[in-house]
Subunit: 137 residues, 3 copies
Amino acid sequence: MRSLTEYLWFNTPEKRDYINITDKVADTVRRSGIKEGMVLVSAMHITAGVYVNDAEDGLIHDIDEWLEKLAPFNLNYRHHRTGETNGDAHLKSLIIHHEVIVPITAGKIDFGPWQQIYYAEFDGQRRKRVVVKAMGE
Amino acid sequence: MRSLTEYLWFNTPEKRDYINITDKVADTVRRSGIKEGMVLVSAMHITAGVYVNDAEDGLIHDIDEWLEKLAPFNLNYRHHRTGETNGDAHLKSLIIHHEVIVPITAGKIDFGPWQQIYYAEFDGQRRKRVVVKAMGE
Amino acid sequence: MRSLTEYLWFNTPEKRDYINITDKVADTVRRSGIKEGMVLVSAMHITAGVYVNDAEDGLIHDIDEWLEKLAPFNLNYRHHRTGETNGDAHLKSLIIHHEVIVPITAGKIDFGPWQQIYYAEFDGQRRKRVVVKAMGE
């Protein structure tokens, strides 16, 4: 088994943001030379996520509103007794999930027509990281 | 590392449906000849999902009602400005998640007694696809 | 590709519990001798989950309250016609997800500073199991 591990850095100007990282992941896959296998794309922070869905601005707005409804910002989380104010960001990350595994077939990401990989930031304005690890032959 | 990649096609008569694909995934694992590894089962569409849970009709009905409560159909999603009406299907797919990784041990899916793999369709009545990729030795 | 498969057993005194299993997974990784690859950590039951987030007691309390809000215990699930009373545990497991894939880089779990692996029990007081499968070179 061969592998290549690379890291993506983010520092979003907004607290919440959604960034299409499909091309960056495809670059890692190409550099790895792997023909058959998978690439793991995983947030290294507990207030961010990685998901696969549509690159459509209206939908991204819907996703953001919906996450705020299911896991709202408020000041009353117990987690905030530590001095933090980002309890909602942890819960949003749990819904979206922090990682995806993407198949590599014939040297390329094996996606359907509309699938795109997104980094979802829920507590931004500081440096955060995603690991991209391609594995296979 | 060896691998075998196969695709499952679906065209459900209903808009929403839940299909047990455990036997089909087990077939791919058997054909791959892989003894130790994993099989990735991943929807190739952004309005469908793949999950592991119980093959019990009442529970499947509960899951469907619950998803409709958390991510309801309505006409007011911003995504619908594109002409689509399936905003809810995208959100349902995000909760359920679009993929699972299933361990292969001693040549078989290494599951507990009640685990089954389901394809969850949230915007059916058209041809859709799942990639099944077994990897290992 | 090399692999090592181990199983963790749980029998929690409470119906719901959240157990940090990071050290146990790290032990499997060390014993595997794998330098580059991944470790799959997957609940073998459909009323439990595995997730990655913070080892902070207040947050764990928040997660538990939040899951109860999104997937409440009640007696009216259709699943209960089978004689079960754990419909909510199935739904909680679907939100949290039953598995994670953790990267192994340079022989170690490749995590950010706050990431920890948790076993989430939603229907405890009986013996349950998690598979930990390290794969790589």
